[in-house]
Symmetry: C2
Subunit: 213 residues, 2 copies
């Protein structure tokens, strides 16, 4: 998949992920074709927004008809680069780390967790979901073996930066950070932050001060 345009808004990427989610549910319910109008309603966006978002990557629709759900899913996943396996490693085997390691959905979605790391000697050697917990110092060595490209940080906030440094040094290309701390990495490393409380704060604000969309 090649892009037609050089710069693509971050918001577009986020929406594409939403489109895939909605389209997959539509497909599960038996919808084969959909036009931008009802799809937009289901995604809570403007119809031309969808058409413009898709136009960054190509022409996937049929004029007068709409979009074929199945083929549109394939086009978008290809555009996002998720039509393949991604290998990931996880650092920080606490409660959250364990939960993620046991989450089967990662494999189903093509984001295979192939390594679990922690610096706590009591955790090293433990087996979780068929994976042995390894000392974080051996990260580079292990990644050399398994070729993981994405690192998942589930450490406490004060150890997040160190985990990030290890990942960068091991040659990882992207980081998914669950720790409630910002991390600093070289410009060519991609970081995504996941924080439930950010969303709860937004809810709190919207409920309290009445923003209703």
């Amino acid at each position: 998949m090649t892009q037609k345009s050089d710069h693509i808004p971050r918001a577009t990427i986020q929406r594409l992920a939403v489109y895939v989610q909605v389209l997959e549910n539509l497909l599960r319910e038996g919808t084969e074709v959909i036009s931008s109008e009802p799809l937009a309603k289901a995604c809570n966006v403007n119809a031309s927004q969808i058409r413009k978002d898709l136009a960054y990557f190509g022409e996937f629709g049929v004029r007068g008809v709409g979009y074929y759900v199945k083929s549109l899913i394939e086009s978008i996943t290809s555009a996002l680069g998720v039509d393949r396996e991604w290998r990931t490693v996880l650092i920080g085997v606490g409660n959250l780390g364990r939960a993620l390691l046991n989450h089967k959905e990662f494999r189903l979605r093509g984001f295979n967790i192939v390594g679990a790391f922690d610096c706590d000697p009591f955790k090293i050697g433990e087996e979780i979901s068929g994976l042995e917990v390894v000392c974080t110092k051996r990260l580079k060595e292990k990644i050399g073996e398994n070729g993981a490209e994405i690192g998942i940080i589930t450490t406490p906030p004060e150890r997040a930066q160190r985990a990030a440094n290890h990942l960068v040094e091991a040659g990882i290309k992207g980081i998914l950070n669950f720790a409630p701390a910002r991390i600093t990495v070289p410009g060519d490393i991609n970081v995504e932050y996941v924080d439930i409380f950010h969303h709860l704060y937004a809810l709190s604000f919207n409920i309290t001060f009445g923003k209703t969309d």
Copy 2:
């Protein structure tokens, strides 16, 4: 806390949550005063962005000095409406639901989970983290008792809309939806979506096609 301005960009709210996170870590490390420049660097944003974001709510800084970390945290949390307890209920006691029910951080952050619901008869009556799982049909009754204002959906995608309907009918004001499905609710109900795979998709895209910020 009252706002100076009527409309506040959604992006501003998201950043305020980041500022709180970073400021709390700074406070833990002993920083008492910080100016917008280094704070901006730590948050990966522009310095005037921070000043403008804060200006929506008031004047929290001291010219020539900067911001007092502790008091800025208080100002922002007050501005977001998170300087109080929020009661929440959770629908969908699967793997994720259980993990969240056992997550102590919710209480620490003031988002108390005071009810757990599921429609599976085998789960009803089970006790998790001191909370008895109750039939979803009794949601309205229970919320009448405990006064929860936020609902957390952790059902499978095909049951998310029904869960949302129950929550709306029970008078909830905001929903945090972990189910991989969009939900439709009346305009005065606030919804936030949490989906790990959206973030992984973004990483995949950025790694593959080289967007490096």
